[in-house]
């Protein structure tokens, strides 16, 4: 079981932690771009949630890859099912599988990895998802189930997209989670402000999503979804799992983050990279990392 350091971290240790996570996020992105040169993946969304997912999986979550059914684990549900690749690579980073397994099996016959994850063939997938608007409602039931069992320490993390907030079923659960005081439920909405048909502003404007959750009674935290230190901070300050309100982290992100020809480009919602584009994208990411942290 990976565990977080308890109590206040000294500044030096904290700096090291952030450096480790930055490096981990770079590796996740490189893996995604490599996979994207083999297969069509939802690269735009994957890159926009890469930092969030890295902090969640490689710092925050309580999960033992050797014991995926441990009762005391945190539950993870990917409501935005097509962010499967970025989840799988993060799970690989903590030992659920090897990166090579993903490259080899992704979208293959009887492979464990694909555009959407399935718990029938992959024990590290809590709930099979893909169709949008399902993860949060199921997560609410899981959170209630944990409470009913007297588990007051596990949390249920559910990662959602901002486009997905248009699904009516989400709002049924947003309402219900407050009614049942699901303090163990932590929603993470990563807002890249783009759908498949254009900007959300053009499609059906979402307005201020943080305000909407707040009005429904959630504990709302807004954070820059590419600021790893800020996200560590936000996770560190989550209320305890037996709190009386669900929490949502609204993470502001950029679709295609880190690659200039992909950033904020609707056409890179999903796609496949040529080897040249892949190499160029990786070069850009490494250059940006080196500028900030030195040698990659």
């Amino acid at each position: 079981m990976q565990s977080k350091p308890l109590g206040k971290m000294d500044p030096e240790a904290r700096k090291k932690l952030i450096a480790r996570l930055e490096k981990a996020a770079l590796k996740i992105r490189k893996n995604l771009l490599t996979l994207c040169s083999q297969q069509v993946i939802h690269i735009g969304g994957d890159l926009s949630v890469a930092d969030v997912m890295t902090v969640l999986w490689q710092y925050q979550i309580k999960y033992d890859p050797q014991n995926p059914k441990d009762e005391t684990r945190d539950r993870f549900i990917l409501s935005k099912g097509h962010a499967a690749a970025v989840t799988s690579f993060n799970q690989a980073a903590i030992g659920c599988y090897r990166d090579e397994d993903i490259f080899k099996e992704y979208a293959g016959d009887n492979g464990r990895f694909a555009m959407h994850s399935c718990n029938l063939i992959n024990p590290h997938v809590e709930v099979s998802t893909g169709s949008l608007g399902h993860g949060l409602p199921v997560a609410a039931g899981v959170a209630q189930g944990l409470k009913l069992k007297g588990n007051t320490t596990s949390r249920v993390y559910v990662v959602m997209g901002d486009g997905e907030q248009s699904e009516g079923s989400m709002w049924e659960a947003i309402l219900n989670s407050v009614h049942y005081k699901l303090g163990n439920l932590v929603g993470i909405v990563y807002c890249n402000k783009l759908g498949f048909d254009g900007t959300l502003q053009q499609i059906t404007a979402l307005g201020d999503i943080a305000d909407k959750y707040r009005v429904f009674g959630w504990n709302v935290v807004e954070v820059d979804g590419h600021d790893i230190a800020a996200m560590v901070e936000a996770f560190d300050h989550l209320p305890p799992a037996d709190f009386d309100k669900p929490t949502v982290l609204i993470c502001h992100t950029v679709k295609g983050h880190g690659v200039d020809f992909m950033e904020n480009q609707v056409k890179w919602h999903a796609g496949r990279l040529s080897p040249e584009n892949r190499d160029e994208a990786i070069r850009q990411l490494e250059a940006a990392y080196q500028e900030k942290w030195g040698e990659a």
């Binding site: 399935c118 409602p137 609410a140 189930g145």
Partner: protein, 318 residues
């Protein structure tokens, strides 16, 4: 079965089910009840009062009813999700399929107001499609009790049944037809009346119509017609259908759209068997009825007692 009954009294399945769910709650502490603002309609307020910690009401939100239940099942609970059959099978169709069936979860979806039973409420409140919809979901078991007290045996069986179950029932008070204790198994049809000159394959309220029809047919023509209570629509008892086909005259009748209902499930078995038999499906025709009472609709569509007698007599002529 633990429900006070005086045999012969007409009673609705939902009344019996609503009470019996409390028994299940006593027997198994993993049993939880989830409602969507229709606990009164589903008659399970007894459970809600007795087990407040294991009762949830998500409001008028059928999608969440099913997804929330799926979440509870992921944590090892056995949720019984109650609402009207049209809403659970259609409004929450994808949740039933993706959140429950895909995960092969032990969620029990209980839909009342099946068929034309809510006729006067109009087509919005009738489920004429639910067997077709639910049955096409992989490994979803589909049940419909033919006797009001059979629901107790059904619910009891769901405690140990692996995988998702959908139970449909009409809201009419129906006559108990099994006076004595009997074995009940999901997937094993019950021969409610013996006979070898023809067979009715039916479920729900139609079972009692078929029993009355078989009795009348014997009096009027001497023909002995078998009545098969096909309480498990899926997986259908193929042997019972094949044995029925061997009589040479089969009428499959259900309060459901003819398309995709019990008759279609039976027809597939007969076609596969290669047996030659007269065969007719009775049920709701392929159009909506705005408003009418259930008995009237059963009559015009000929799956009430008179209609079953008439149709079997026609077969007996051949």
């Amino acid at each position: 079965m633990g429900i006070t009954q005086s045999f012969g009294d007409m009673v609705a399945v939902r009344d019996v089910a609503g009470k019996y769910i409390s028994k299940l709650g006593e027997k198994n502490d993993k049993v939880v009840v989830v409602n969507a603002d229709l606990s009164g309609t589903s008659r399970n307020k007894g459970f809600v009062e007795e087990f407040p910690d294991r009762s949830f009401n998500v409001g008028i939100a059928e999608q969440n009813l099913v997804s929330f239940s799926a979440g509870l099942a992921h944590e090892g609970f056995m949720p019984y999700a109650f609402t009207m059959a049209p809403f659970i099978s259609m409004r929450a169709c994808e949740q039933c399929r993706t959140d429950v069936a895909y995960g092969h979860l032990n969620v029990r979806l209980i839909g009342n107001y099946a068929g034309y039973s809510s006729g006067v409420s109009g087509a919005t409140h009738c489920a004429l499609e639910d067997c077709a919809i639910m049955g096409s979901m992989a490994r979803m078991t589909v049940l419909e009790p033919g006797d009001p007290y059979q629901i107790c045996k059904m619910l009891e069986a769901t405690l140990t049944w692996d995988g998702p179950v959908y139970i449909r029932s009409g809201i009419e008070a129906i006559k108990p037809i099994y006076p004595e204790e009997y074995d009940y198994q999901i997937g094993k049809a019950i021969i409610a009346r013996e006979g070898s000159d023809g067979a009715f394959i039916c479920s729900g309220i139609v079972v009692q119509f078929a029993l009355e029809a078989a009795e009348r047919l014997e009096k009027e023509t001497g023909a002995k017609i078998r009545v098969i209570d096909m309480h498990t629509i899926k997986p259908i008892d193929e042997m019972a259908v094949i044995e029925a086909a061997k009589t040479g005259r089969v009428i499959a009748a259900q309060d459901h759209n003819i398309i995709g209902g019990l008759g279609y499930y039976a027809a597939a078995v007969i076609a596969k068997s290669g047996l030659a038999t007269q065969f007719k499906i009775l049920g709701c025709p392929d159009h909506f009825v705005p408003i009418a009472t259930a008995p009237y609709l059963f009559k015009v569509n000929e799956y009430d007692t008179d209609g079953l007698v008439k149709n079997m007599k026609e077969m007996l002529k051949k």
